[in-house]
């Protein structure tokens, strides 16, 4: 038994090394890191940060980036009340219909609606952004290697291009973007938003807040998942102990 565990762990270790090695790709630039409250076995989303992050998304990012998988009603996860959610949804306009005369009409958003997209389609988005397509942000934290730290680094990674670096027209220099040329101009500037809770809106603070919000947007069930995981694993530990005891007892009369 012990020997088996030893051997299994050697195999596991080797596999982990080979797989991690396999996946460790990227620009090779060390990312800026922050500690995220939702990391770890018991981590939960920092509600205040996520709420501020929503504000950053709405006032800064939403002009170009959609969030098309997230519906307003799910904001309840972040501690928004029903009334607040209704009010947020109402600000957006959607095409409804057809009505009884077969006409489409504009209607105010409802909690079940997804966040509105700033552009009608990809072509329209490219036309307004110098040919670049601002990606949807619903899954952005899970869709880039480095995850939260990558997004955070990217948002604070703007600086002047080093000497000799050929920057194409309309592009910006970013230390963490692959190839360092990014079509998105630096989105955050000091006091770009005014936080209701009085938190100073530094670039670093906003970058962190919007990262927390988008991490939630990408993985809204994280808390349910970890919560269930703890119960399941405790149950399984108990079961293993029980089965081991039964196994010992049943096998004891052998030989």
């Amino acid at each position: 038994m012990l020997k088996l565990i030893k051997k299994l762990s050697v195999v596991a270790l080797l596999s982990v090394i080979s797989i991690t090695g396999a996946q460790a790709s990227g620009g090779g630039v060390e990312l800026k890191t922050s500690t995220w409250k939702h990391e770890g076995l018991f981590g939960t989303y920092d509600r205040a940060a996520a709420q501020r992050g929503l504000q950053v998304y709405q006032e800064v990012c939403a002009g170009c980036h959609s969030l098309r998988h997230v519906s307003f009603r799910t904001l309840a996860d972040l501690g928004f009340s029903e009334a607040e959610i209704k009010a947020l949804a109402k600000e957006a306009t959607y095409v409804g219909g057809p009505d009884d005369d077969g006409e489409m009409f504009d209607r105010a958003g409802k909690p079940f609606d997804k966040f509105p997209s700033p552009f009608a389609n990809e072509k329209a988005a490219r036309a307004s952004n110098g040919g670049a397509f601002p990606p949807d942000l619903s899954l952005i934290v899970k869709a880039r290697g480095g995850f939260e730290n990558y997004l955070y680094s990217l948002l604070i990674g703007y600086k002047d291009a080093p000497e000799g670096f050929e920057l194409a027209d309309g592009m910006s220099y970013n230390s963490y973007f692959g190839g360092h040329q990014i079509a998105m101009p630096s989105p955050l500037s000091e006091d770009a938003v005014e936080y209701a809770d009085g938190t100073p809106a530094t670039v670093d603070q906003m970058a962190k807040d919007v990262t927390v919000f988008l991490a939630w947007a990408a993985e809204p069930k994280l808390e349910d998942r970890k919560n269930m995981g703890m119960k399941v694993i405790l149950f399984l530990l108990l079961m293993s102990g029980l089965f081991y005891a039964v196994k010992r007892k049943i096998w004891a009369d052998l030989h």
């Binding site: 790709s25 998988h69 899954l139 399941v232």
Partner: protein, 412 residues
């Protein structure tokens, strides 16, 4: 210990269809060597994972939409709006990896203890067929979420068939159902991804049937000689397997609940885009050794043949291995070679995930060469020249001698 039902209903059925007796024989009285170690648990774990994949997969397919414009969104719908959809999907995605982990361990156990040797050649073959079917199923399943890796993985792998001389391009068009990976491809992959698991169930039944005909191999590699050597499957191995299952489920849960995307690739959370090729197209980890073999050859056709050859040679294993001794416990040279071979496979896995550049190309070629050299050259040679250790008289003699030496060790 033949099966004599007392319940009149069971009796009535048994006289007309002896299914209860068959199950009783297979799951209850099946005479099993008394010395099976925990390495023998992985077979039943693989069976368990097949059931998990079937159940989660059937429920997922109730919410999934196989269409290029809707597939990605329907997966997100499952993750966000379907009750416990996130649990089902993560269970299914990580379940595939877990299935491969236990099957790989099951295969390596067979290699170590010579479980493929007569009279278990067909058993081994059926296992390899299951493995091939699993790979096809897993590959097509990975395409279904229609993310970037789904799309480009499908493109790369289906294009391999283009290497076949003369009819290659025609075959690729036929596989795609068009002139590129598109909606018809996604639809047929979904259809086959749903079908193949049931084919696997069929082959698993044959695999177990064949197993129960020749009986389980065991760590000594010698056959059951008399009643003393065997114990009924139930309760001894049912409880041992249940304990193994509980431990395995803890590992599964650790991934499922705490690192559900660790074995996935971030790019697959980007919707498929035929116009943008990802920087590195990497298959799922369980394909990496074969991907490394594929890329070890500069010629496309050669690479494809070598990749399929890597599995084909395993079919010949029962005849390539000339040693009449099964278990590596009594084969001092083979035992060393086994661990080197395992290490070689781990190296191939690592190389498969690296970009095609030096020094990875060279290492990949050496490791590929060694993979084939081990099976085609070393294995037959070792069988001829190796001097095996003396075998125990019987399974129970081996168990008793081990027990007494353990006691001596604990007394000392």
């Amino acid at each position: 210990m033949s099966f004599e039902p007392k319940n009149p209903m069971v009796k009535w059925v048994e006289a007309r269809l002896p299914i209860t007796g068959m199950l009783h024989h297979a799951l209850y009285e099946y005479p099993t060597p008394k010395n099976l170690s925990y390495w023998w648990t992985f077979g039943s774990l693989a069976g368990f994972m097949l059931v998990v994949q079937l159940i989660t997969g059937i429920v997922l397919s109730m919410h999934y939409t196989a269409h290029v414009d809707l597939a990605f969104d329907s997966v997100e719908h499952i993750m966000r709006d379907v009750n416990y959809g996130w649990l089902l999907r993560y269970m299914h995605a990580n379940g595939a990896s877990m299935f491969f982990i236990v099957v790989y361990l099951h295969i390596f156990r067979g290699l170590y203890y010579g479980s493929y040797k007569a009279p278990r050649e067909l058993l081994w073959w059926l296992g390899l067929v299951i493995f091939l079917l699993m790979m096809a199923t897993a590959f097509m399943g990975y395409v279904l979420p229609w993310g970037q890796m789904s799309f480009w993985g499908a493109t790369v792998i289906t294009n391999l068939f283009g290497a076949i001389p003369v009819v290659g391009d025609t075959i690729v068009t036929w596989l795609w159902g068009g002139f590129s990976v598109d909606n018809p491809t996604l639809n047929r992959f979904f259809s086959l991804h749903y079908l193949l698991p049931f084919v696997i169930v069929g082959v698993v039944i044959l695999h177990i049937w064949s197993l129960h005909t020749s009986g389980s191999n065991n760590p000594t590699g010698i056959e059951i000689k008399d009643k003393q050597d065997s114990i009924p499957f139930h309760p001894y191995y049912t409880v041992k397997d249940l304990f193994g299952l509980a431990l395995f489920l803890i590992l599964f849960s650790a991934f499922l609940f705490y690192a559900p995307n660790w074995m996935g690739h971030p790019d697959n959370y980007i919707p498929a885009n035929p116009l943008v090729t990802p920087a590195h197209i990497v298959p799922e980890w369980y394909f990496l050794p074969f991907y490394a073999i594929l890329r070890a050859v500069p010629d496309k056709l050669g690479g494809v043949m070598l990749m399929f050859g890597a599995i084909a040679v395993l079919f010949a294993l029962p005849w390539l291995d000339k040693s009449r001794i099964r278990s590596a416990r009594f084969r001092p040279v083979y035992k060393q070679l086994f661990w080197i071979f395992l290490l070689d496979c781990v190296i191939l896995t690592y190389i498969g995930g690296q970009p095609a550049e030096e020094p990875f190309i060279l290492i990949g070629r050496i490791a590929t060469g060694y993979y084939f050299a081990h099976i085609l050259i070393l294995l037959p040679l070792v069988g001829m020249f190796e001097k095996p250790k003396p075998l125990p008289a019987s399974i129970s003699a081996d168990v008793l001698s081990k027990k007494s030496s353990d006691e001596e060790a604990s007394n000392a």
